[in-house]
């Protein structure tokens, strides 16, 4: 790799021992990725702050001991527990202290404890064309596709090394060539698919993620009025069912108009395929007991809270079915302080912060189904929690929560 003066300086320890150590790892990483040089980044989003075991702490601790400080604005992804509601945590109790240690280590390195997987909707919004180093699969696909910023598909540890140096290898989706579509998918319209909007976007994400492994798809036929929240749901699901890190949607996403599609393989996505995807993610039996409805994977936006508030107005959940919505502390505080959201409180919703209910064990009841509107939750929930999970529309989730049982379609 060809190093610029700043890279040499970082490696030689002129910006501290932690940056030198991070740079050494990045050079090995960049060489493996086939990069020939480094570029600067404007921000980083760290996924390695989610506690997985002692190795999470071992890594951050080394950089703290070396006196490391991030060189670009750096936000933190979700944690393993909601430390503001320790009573809700049903997992091993020692995780709470271990997670607090890990979060504190990242704060010592200068990271902002945002503890959200969707900071991009409000707190930290990378601009089009800006190079950044973001981890968390849903955030990667969102900022690449919807905002037109440039991040590769970073994993834990690369994110922190990038933040500590302000540098990344010029590889993957930082490069123009890698952002071009390798396949065009002709999507059925919402009308042709005969689906409610929320299921449509989750199902499209699921199918596209599986059919575009490691390549950039160009989506033709997406509703032009697709909202940020809907694109967030599509990307998060595709990043779970596959490795979707960037998609272009004709007439919708910012880079789509500049992308060459002539000569690119064109394939149709059929309504039947979408139906099959939904069937695989929703194996609920009507009338089955429902333990909980879990929303907010990725973290709910203020707009999604407003939609939910409207949907539950004048209704009440049964005591047998809990409702959890995961979001950031920032958005939770806004909801808590605004009487316009009283309908949510009357319905009996628990707002989980810092973490997400698809990875943190907060659903207390041990039997019964978990319902969700999130394709990502439906994909990971069964493996992470050992629970049965079913994807359905928000409207059907709410009716099921009122009845305590899976409501009819």
């Amino acid at each position: 790799m060809k190093l610029e003066p700043i890279d040499h300086a970082l490696r030689a320890g002129e910006h501290g021992a932690a940056a030198a150590r991070a740079m050494a790892l990045l050079i090995r990483y960049g060489t493996a990725c086939g990069a020939d040089r480094f570029i600067g980044i404007e921000s980083a989003h760290i996924d390695g702050c989610l506690y997985h075991g002692p190795s999470s702490i071992d890594f951050a601790q080394r950089f703290v001991e070396l006196g490391g400080k991030v060189r670009v604005p750096t936000t933190l992804n979700v944690a393993a527990v909601d430390v503001t509601h320790p009573g809700w945590h049903c997992g091993p109790p020692e995780i709470i202290a271990e997670q607090e240690t890990l979060t504190r280590l990242h704060e010592q390195l200068g990271c902002l404890p945002t503890l959200t997987c969707a900071p991009y909707q409000r707190m930290a919004r990378p601009r089009r064309g800006e190079h950044v180093a973001w981890a968390e699969s849903n955030a990667i696909v969102f900022i690449n596709s919807v905002l037109g910023a440039r991040t590769d598909r970073y994993g834990d540890f690369t994110d922190l090394c990038a933040a500590l140096t302000g540098r990344v290898p010029l590889a993957g989706l930082h490069r123009d060539e890698a952002r071009r579509p390798a396949i065009v998918f002709e999507l059925p319209s919402i009308e042709a698919a005969r689906l409610p909007r929320d299921l449509y976007f989750a199902a499209i994400g699921y199918v596209v993620g599986r059919r575009a492994p490691g390549i950039v798809p160009y989506l033709r036929g997406m509703p032009l009025d697709a909202t940020e929240d809907e694109l967030k749901a599509l990307g998060a699901t595709g990043a779970s069912s596959g490795a979707l890190a960037l998609f272009h949607a004709e007439g919708v996403t910012p880079e789509a108009a500049d992308m060459p599609t002539a000569g690119v393989l064109v394939e149709a996505v059929s309504p039947a395929e979408i139906e099959a995807a939904i069937a695989s993610l929703c194996q609920a039996i009507e009338g089955e007991a429902v333990a909980a409805v879990c929303l907010g994977t990725p973290h709910y936006s203020i707009h999604e809270f407003a939609l939910l508030n409207r949907a539950v107005a004048g209704r009440r959940r049964t005591a047998a079915t809990e409702i959890y919505v995961s979001t950031s502390r920032e958005i939770a505080a806004e909801v808590a302080g605004d009487p316009a959201f009283d309908a949510l409180r009357a319905f009996g919703i628990h707002i989980v912060v810092d973490t997400c209910t698809y990875l943190a064990p907060v659903v207390r009841q041990t039997s019964g189904l978990i319902l969700t509107t999130s394709g990502k939750y439906a994909h990971y929930g069964p493996g992470n929690l050992g629970r049965r999970v079913a994807l359905m529309t928000l409207e059907r989730c709410i009716r099921s929560a009122e009845a305590g049982r899976v409501a009819p379609c």
């Binding site: 990725c33 390695g48 075991g53 190795s55 071992d58 598909r153 492994p213």
Partner: protein, 151 residues
């Protein structure tokens, strides 16, 4: 059988082949306490990763898969080596950090889709990944002496 590829991460490894028919997200797809595949939708659900040569067609899923690989390495439940069809940034950093923190080498070999198709679950394989020479062999077909690589 001898399969040539490109060394993403250098090192030597031996183990019984575990060939996956679909990509796997190590985070969310593997129980880190046991090293068992728990992804409900995965065809090889229930298989154990520890000390196997893990053949995986492409990549899937979470940024946390690098942490999952390191945590598996820390507890001795990581695959001995990985064979894949596409360079994967998340596995790459996981293998580098497993080495950095715990001295656990997890070589990664990238092979063609065609060669990947020849792999089978079960037999013991040897992975030899270094710059310029990256091969996977199966000793019943063609023994490879690691003791003296220059021979």
């Amino acid at each position: 059988m001898l399969i040539h590829g490109h060394a993403l991460i250098e090192g030597l490894a031996s183990g019984d082949m575990l060939k996956l028919t679909e990509p796997l997200s190590l985070w969310g797809g593997v129980d880190l306490q046991t090293g068992r595949i728990v992804d409900a939708s995965h065809p090889q659900r229930g298989s154990m990763l520890a000390n196997r040569l893990l053949a995986m067609p492409g990549s899937r899923g979470s940024s946390s898969s690098s942490s999952a690989l390191v945590e598996l390495a820390r507890t001795g439940r990581a695959p001995a080596g990985v064979i894949t069809t596409r360079s994967d940034p998340i596995l790459t950093i996981g293998a580098l950090v497993a080495d950095y923190l715990y001295g656990a080498a997890i070589p990664i070999l990238v092979v063609s889709v065609e060669d990947f198709g020849k792999l089978q679950c079960g037999p013991k394989g040897h992975l030899w990944c270094e710059a310029g020479r990256a091969v996977l062999t199966f000793p019943e077909h063609e023994p490879l002496r690691f003791e003296n690589p220059s021979a």
